[in-house]
Amino acid sequence: MTTKTVALDEGVVRTPAEIKRSRYLGITYLLLAAIVLFFFWRWSGDLGNFTFKLARPLDPSAPDLTLSASRTTMIVAVVLAGLGGFQLAKGFGKFNNMVLGFGIFLFIFAFLGWATAQSSLGAFSMVGMMKATIVRSVPITLGALAGVMSERVAVINIAIEGQLLAGAFVAVVVASPLATADDSLFLGAPLGSWIGVGAAILAGMLLAWVLAVLAIRYIVDQIIVGVVITIFVGGMTAFLALRWLADNPQLNQAPIFKSIGLPGLSSIPFLGPVLFDHNIFVFGAFILVAALTFLLFRTRWGLRARAVGEHPGAADTLGVNVYRTRYLNVIIGGAVAGFGGAFFTLGSVGRFDENMTNGRGFIGLAAMIFGRWHPVGAMAAGLVFGFADAMSQTLGILQTGIPSEFLGMTPFIATIFVVAGVVGKARPPAADGQPYIKQ
């Protein structure tokens, strides 16, 4: 990275890389404006109105949002063009990313408006899509949190996929025989289901312990360990699913955790059903994000853990037990991933299918990078990826003719952009992936 700087007349100092990036951003806004103008408005002709439904039949009532397609797209195009012009002329400085987020929001709003107006339905349930966004983000966020905990102490964890899958399997196998329909419910599920969740957490911790032992004590390459654990769990769960569950379906049907509406909050129009009426996994993910952020960034313990990730030698000199810190963090991460794994079965469909995590762990890895190794960033990235997931489903219903696979690719392409430094450089913990050998 060059340190040469260019002073602007306001006295703001920008590096050539920032200027280049600013130019790219400006051009991007103008392109988006052109797309909105050309494809959504001019090309499709006047499409009339579109309606975003902000409440479903049983939700707290909220008025529908009905707008004129042509007027909305034109306003969005003008605003985007304005953003682009300002970005090219002056730039937004430290608000760059916030403005980028706003620009993308506008674009997606116009896109959804166009997609709705051109479909024969003319309306779709915004509340349903936003709720799906939250639900689909949960396993990704939890997987990313597992990665954050582990990589903050410089142990690369690409076994997230395996930990999620193991959690999913163990949860349903333990919960199915223990939970019966007429049990009394505690926070949305019978006691047996809770034991299933506990078992899933233990399974995640066990795999994390294996990762830690191989990576820390035996100094095996961490990426290889992660891949191997994922292959092992994939094979093992498929093996056991055929050997146990195929002939014993009673082992593979657990009650699903019921939604809990937070009193008061869940009756807020629109926001209530989207944010405050979910099962315990969703609330658990929110709570974990807050708790782990506090732990990592507001406690002495967290400071030490991060020191181990940045410069284990220095941390060791100051009396931090590097090995113990690494073991502990990796295993906490495993517990989080195990909990996230239980979501796939107990929080969602109630049964296990071979390879049902379907790469969510790897998306979680991407979310961790996208979120810059921070719990809140991980959640934000999880929500973005969850939104892409929910939106591709919506577009399927609206029949836009745009293949849903393309939208499904966006998280992965976005992650490549992030690691390539196009949208700001993500910096991992300095010692990430390096074994520590005490002198």
């Binding site: 093992m236 300095a430 390096q434």
Partner: protein, 410 residues
């Protein structure tokens, strides 16, 4: 960059690895083969790792037997071990027990060897290509696209498929190499992402009119032309169960070519040098950007060939899962083969035998074929952590593999 090995040159750059006293059997192996290598790490550790993995898999079969846990008696324990024993026997007979079994082993080995070479050449250059699966998909789809549109004589059509698949996989791998070289984006992350993108791209492509047969709604392609199919080597026997095809020959030629490139050519020396220490290679005047890109492109081309072997040799049409996890098995395979082309070929035969035998095992003994993934994962654990092998078998082994890859930060 604190994890760079310092001081001594790596063993393979010294020429012969083990110049000290050799024990009897190692000296015997030297005399037998005429080459002087570190037999302990090249042969002993993989063999012991395989033995340990099979032993653990027997225990897994026994411990996962529900009947055993229900009755909990000595006779039930005997039954479980009996099932495990016959499962192991089925693994053996299903892979080596008949002409059909051997030919099936070879047919499975072809894409495995090619994908294994893809990962191995990456390791040699210090790059971890997890993307063989996606590169297989892309190479295979090019082969499908050519196979369903072009029908020319077989001696032209097969080479066309080979070249097309290499280009398709090569581009997909080259993207990751270029990103690594130009922006520092870690190849592990980019190849994982490119795998997912390739998977979705295949699903989309198979829903287009170009690939999909008329009247089908599921994602599947038309059959490729007969002239594009890899000829069966024992076709004159006219037996449909003898499936060994030209792919295994392609794989062996590729293995020899990679051996030649890696150890006899200038660019191969540069690949290994950049893998050993990219900074030193850079200061030595090598173009690291170009090397990273070309290694990943070559790696992707090999994986693309594996996809071609899968399509043109075995399936004759594409469906979303046609790479069948081979790209991931390839990682285990490259580690088992110590990233050396000869080792990869040997490991490829072994994994091909496991795949062939695993099917027989599931049919004959009801032990699910997915056990072979478990066996392969265990093999790699034992290979990567020789300390475990030392502890179990009480033998001396070579050095730990140590760090093959670099962390995200570098």
């Amino acid at each position: 960059m604190t994890d760079e090995p310092k001081g001594e040159a790596p063993p393979e750059m010294n020429g012969d690895a083990d110049n000290g006293e050799k024990s009897g059997w190692a000296a015997f192996m030297d005399d037998l083969t005429g080459v002087n290598v570190d037999w302990r790490s090249a042969v002993l550790v993989p063999v012991l790792a395989m033995t340990a993995a099979l032993a653990v898999s027997v225990l897994i079969i026994v411990a996962s037997d529900i009947e055993l846990w229900r009755s909990f008696s000595i006779s039930a324990l005997g039954d479980s071990f009996g099932q495990a024993g016959s499962a192991m026997w089925a693994l053996l007979t299903g892979s080596l027990g008949s002409l059909a079994a051997v030919s099936s082993t070879l047919a499975f080995a072809a894409p495995l060897i090619l994908a294994g070479l893809s990962v191995a050449i990456g390791f040699k250059a210090g790059l971890f290509n997890i993307g063989a699966e996606g590169q297989m998909l892309m190479g295979g789809m090019v082969a499908v696209a050519l196979g369903i549109t072009i029908d020319i004589p077989v001696f032209l059509n097969v080479p066309l498929a080979i070249i097309g698949a290499m280009i398709g996989g090569g581009i997909w791998g080259g993207i990751a190499g270029l990103l690594r070289a130009r922006t520092g984006a870690h190849e592990v992350i980019t190849t994982i992402m490119l795998n997912s993108i390739a998977g979705l791209a295949v699903v989309w492509m198979l829903s287009t009119k170009f690939f999909q047969p008329e009247g089908r709604l599921d994602p599947v392609s038309e059959d490729i032309a007969v002239s594009a199919r890899l000829p069966r080597l024992l076709g004159f026997l006219d037996r449909s169960d003898v499936r060994v095809h030209l792919g295994i020959v392609v794989a062996l030629i590729a293995a020899y070519a990679i051996y030649w490139v890696l150890f006899k050519s200038t660019i191969g020396y540069e690949f290994r040098a950049v893998g050993f220490n990219p900074n030193a290679a850079h200061y030595g005047g090598m173009r690291v950007t170009w090397l990273y890109t070309s290694v990943m492109a070559l790696s992707g081309a090999l994986a693309g060939l594996a996809g071609m072997a899968q399509i043109n040799g075995l399936l004759y049409r594409a469906s979303p899962g046609f790479a069948a996890g081979i790209g991931f098995d390839a990682i285990s395979l490259a580690l088992l083969g110590r990233s050396h082309p000869a080792g990869v070929v040997a490991a490829g035969f072994l994994f091909g035998a496991l795949r062939a035998g695993g099917i027989e095992m599931q049919v004959a003994t009801d032990v699910p074929v997915d056990l072979i993934s478990v066996i392969q994962a265990l093999v790699v654990v034992f290979i990567a952590a020789p300390a475990l092998i030392r502890a179990i078998f009480r033998v001396k082994t070579g050095e730990e593999i140590g760090q093959l890859t670099t962390g995200w930060g570098t």
